[in-house]
């Protein structure tokens, strides 16, 4: 994919154990997309069971026994692995691993990451973590079955679930993936702080880079807390300690505090980069500067900062002191303010634009639309008295999918559509992807919007057969409707997968700047060569959002194009540690 100038590296160093940030990004992309197929498939099993609990899944006899949800213990395992894979092996690696790696050096005008070897290590450690998680499908007793939140004592004592090795493997896998993500975060922060091209001030960085930067800070600060909690849980399981066992003087709620101290910031790790990508894409295809650039930057910082003091809103009904509940309610309400600022600025960006409806743009608009729903539904559960009823119901399931699927995943689709030509030097078929984007948006809403209504009816999460409850029986047709929509949503993804794979080899050749965008990655050839830039790194004269500027006749003005009278910035250029 990338051409080296002076010396040709052997295949294994170039494409497998590569230290080139672009190859590592693409490796992360392929790994997470493969896991996305597994995770999506598990979701289909869950929906079949909920929609049609009395009917056997077609072809179920060909699946490993541990995937047959008709056995309630297996049902727990299936949704646990759906969530764990989607969160730890898809969304986080695809946003930070794939796009973080690929975009940061290109967008700030660096030749590579600050620590290329650490970068390579980060991918391969993450890969091992993914393999460990996948291996738990094949061990005796099956996979973890305690939800992705793994609350002890259920997760701490094997007898409570009947799952022995699967849960231990889950803990180890998440620990390993967490380590990989810390390595990545250190690299991103160092690179962004030290290796920007001449003239690339902090306030000239694209919002994607800002979002990835703040996300890396979150990862660096929150992930070690998760690691400590996982360590204690592992010791409880294997060495007989009692960190979470009240009989031995332990505290059950300690896990929840530590877990959510990581996992709430993790929610923002999973959405902030997507917000950054969408900001860039909306601006590019509206042919208009982003509205309120600095407000956008400060709201990213604000969301990240507040994200550390809202974890208790997952625990309103946990037995935590109700007075604490009030404090967490207020901080959670406040976090809606920066989110609202972002939404209004996206709308402001569209206002007066000349919008081009490319597939990337449609996905970005779908992101904004679903993020509004996900953000507003969050206010319901932030309110402690309302949460008392909707906590652990399908209202929560609807909310989190509006944010994680509607938000993060539409952001990912938009980003793949947008940067695919740069990554692979070929265009995807735009018509197929337009159909994919529109159908995904429709089926997504048909799948997840009714879940709000189920939640208001009191439908609990994580139950394998809603028809066992009298008060839920009247709602079963809605469950079936959701399941059918989910199958259609799943089927729509085949379009995208086929287009992705086909275009790798047969797509139309892409030019360097197919979207007429301003940021630096579009200055490099598609795909960019090893070390990205020719003899000199680009010099930056302005911010990345100068679309439709009155200074030039075209409707875009790349960051590196000097105009008469622009001052030439001077700054020492730092190179990657290995170069």
């Amino acid at each position: 994919m990338s051409e080296t100038h002076e010396h040709e590296l052997p295949f294994i160093r170039k494409y497998i154990f590569s230290m080139d940030h672009k190859i590592i990004g693409i490796q992360f992309l392929f790994m997470s997309l493969l896991f996305m197929i597994v995770g999506g498939f598990l979701a289909m099993i869950v929906r079949w069971q909920l929609g049609f609990p009395d009917r056997e899944i077609p072809l179920v006899k060909y699946l490993p026994d541990s995937l047959n949800p008709a056995d309630p213990a297996h049902y727990n395992a299936v949704f646990t692995m759906h969530a764990s894979i989607m969160i730890f092996a898809v969304i986080i690696p695809i946003l930070t691993g794939a796009f973080g790696n690929y975009l940061i050096p290109l967008m700030i005008g660096a030749r590579d990451m600050a620590f290329p070897k650490l970068n390579m290590l980060s991918f391969w450690v993450g890969f091992v973590g993914g393999c460990v998680m996948a291996s738990s499908f094949f061990v005796e007793g099956g996979t973890a079955a305690t939800g992705w939140t793994a609350y002890p004592p259920l997760s701490a004592v094997p007898e409570y679930t009947g799952v022995a090795r699967g849960q231990t493997l889950w803990i180890v896998a998440v620990l390993i993936i967490g380590t990989a993500s810390i390595m990545g975060a250190v690299n991103y922060i160092t690179t962004i702080v030290n290796m920007r091209a001449p003239g690339m001030h902090f306030f000239r960085m694209p919002l994607s880079v800002w979002a990835l930067f703040i996300t890396a800070v979150l990862q660096l600060m929150a992930t070690p807390v998760l690691a400590s909690a996982l360590g204690m849980l592992l010791f409880d399981r294997t060495l007989g300690t009692h960190f979470f066992a009240p009989a031995g003087g332990g505290q059950v709620l300690l896990w929840q505090h530590l877990f959510w101290f990581y996992s709430h910031p993790a929610v923002y790790i999973m959405i902030l980069p997507a917000m950054g990508f969408v900001s860039d894409i909306l601006s590019t295809f509206s042919r208009k500067p982003i509205f309120g650039y600095k407000a956008m930057v400060f709201s990213i910082v604000g969301i990240a900062g507040l994200g550390f003091i809202v974890w208790g809103h997952h625990m309103f009904q946990s037995g935590m002191n109700p007075a604490l509940g009030t404090a967490f309610m207020i901080s959670t309400m406040v976090i809606a303010v920066p989110s609202a600022i972002k939404t209004f600025n996206w709308l402001g960006t569209l206002w007066g634009g000349a919008i081009r409806f490319t597939p990337a743009m449609i996905n970005a608009l779908a992101f904004v639309s679903t993020f509004i729903v996900g953000g507003l539904s969050g206010i319901f559960m932030a309110s402690t008295p309302v949460d008392m009823f909707i906590h652990d119901t399908y209202f929560i399931v609807a909310h989190l999918h509006y944010v994680l699927f509607g938000g993060s995943l539409f952001g990912v689709f938009a980003a793949i559509n947008y940067w695919y030509p740069k990554m692979f030097g070929r265009m995807m078929n735009q018509t197929v992807n337009t159909i994919h984007a529109v159908l995904s948006f429709i089926f997504f809403n048909l799948t997840f919007f009714p879940m709000h209504i189920l939640g208001m009816a009191g439908h609990m999460r994580r139950i394998y057969d809603p028809t066992l409850y009298e008060f839920l029986k009247p709602w079963q047709p809605m469950n079936q409707f959701i399941s059918v929509s989910a199958f259609l949503l799943g089927a729509t993804q085949i379009l995208f997968a086929v287009n992705f794979a086909y275009s790798l080899f047969r797509g139309k050749k892409a030019e360097a700047n197919p979207w007429h965008a301003n940021s630096l990655e579009w200055v490099a050839p598609s795909p960019p060569p090893h070390l990205n830039w020719g003899a000199h790194v680009p010099t930056v004269y302005r911010g990345p959002y100068e679309y439709s500027s009155p200074e030039v006749s075209e409707d875009y003005l790349p960051q590196n194009r000097p105009l008469v009278g622009s001052p030439t910035p001077s700054r020492t250029v730092m190179t990657p540690a290995r170069a």
Binding site: P72, N76, T146, P153, L154, Y160, T161, P246, A247, V252, S286, R287, K288, P289, I290, F291, G292, Q317, S318, G319, P322, T326, M329, M333, V334, A336, V337, A340, I341, F344, N345, L347, G348, W351, G352, G353, I355, V368, V373, I379, F380, T384, P385, V386, F389, H391, D392, T393, A457, G458, M460, R461, R462, I463, Y464, Y469, F471, Y547, S548, D555
Partner: protein, 219 residues
């Protein structure tokens, strides 16, 4: 409270989605029309920061009041029940004749709870093995039962009838079937029922597991 939030968020939803689709349509690309060149507007930024902030503070304060009524103080009452949750069973314990818990004459039943209409009842939640969550959808009541803690909640039923109890916190393979039935009775009926239960236990040694003779637990 739910409806207050629904009105506020509903309005915000219709407005923002409306604007989104309108702008997407209104400002679609047309030949010869150039996009407006603007970097933003500070006054607008201030407006759309302050307006949501004020509304959210209002929602927060309003929610706090309701939360205080639910969680703040439990009205004084003699009517107490201890619920011990375990995999996968709700053990419901009444004081019995002597008016004391943990004595031989406690009335212990499983997966059913009887409450008198109109009187506040304090429910003390405990858990034997893992975390469970006591959820009565019709009462809008949900509270985790946590091993090692006793958590008090209170209810004051306003209507007689049978209401389902469910477990709302994943507790193992039987989580989806951990179902019980809560019956609200007229106070007089409740007294009669309680007498009958007490008569069943009082003379003999209390054997919790067999102490539910009156009605078969709902399937």
């Amino acid at each position: 409270m739910f409806y207050v939030i629904l009105v506020v968020t509903g309005t915000a939803f219709v407005l923002t989605e409306g604007i989104l689709f309108y702008f997407a349509w209104r400002y679609r690309h047309r030949d010869g029309v150039r996009a407006k060149y603007t970097h933003g507007n500070s006054r607008l930024e201030v407006i759309w920061t302050v307006v949501p902030a004020v509304m959210l503070v209002f929602l927060g304060l309003a929610s706090k009041t309701v939360w205080g009524e639910i969680k703040g103080s439990i009205p004084p009452t003699d009517q107490e029940v201890v619920v011990m949750a375990s995999q996968f069973d709700w053990e419901v314990r009444y004081k019995g004749v002597d008016g004391q818990f943990d004595t031989a004459d406690d009335v212990v039943i499983h997966n059913e709870m009887h409450l008198p209409l109109g009187l506040p009842t304090k429910i003390r939640l405990r858990a034997k093995d893992v975390i469970h969550s006591f959820f009565v959808p019709a009462f809008r009541l949900k509270q985790d039962a946590v091993p090692g803690l006793t958590i008090d909640v209170w209810v004051q039923p306003t209507k007689t009838g049978d209401y389902e109890i469910a477990c709302a916190e994943l507790c193992g393979f039987g989580h989806g079937t951990m179902r019980g039935m809560l019956t609200v009775m007229e106070p007089q009926q409740f007294q009669d029922w309680m007498k009958q239960q007490e008569a069943g236990v009082a003379p003999a040694e209390a054997a919790p597991a067999e102490a539910a003779p009156a009605e078969a637990p709902p399937a």
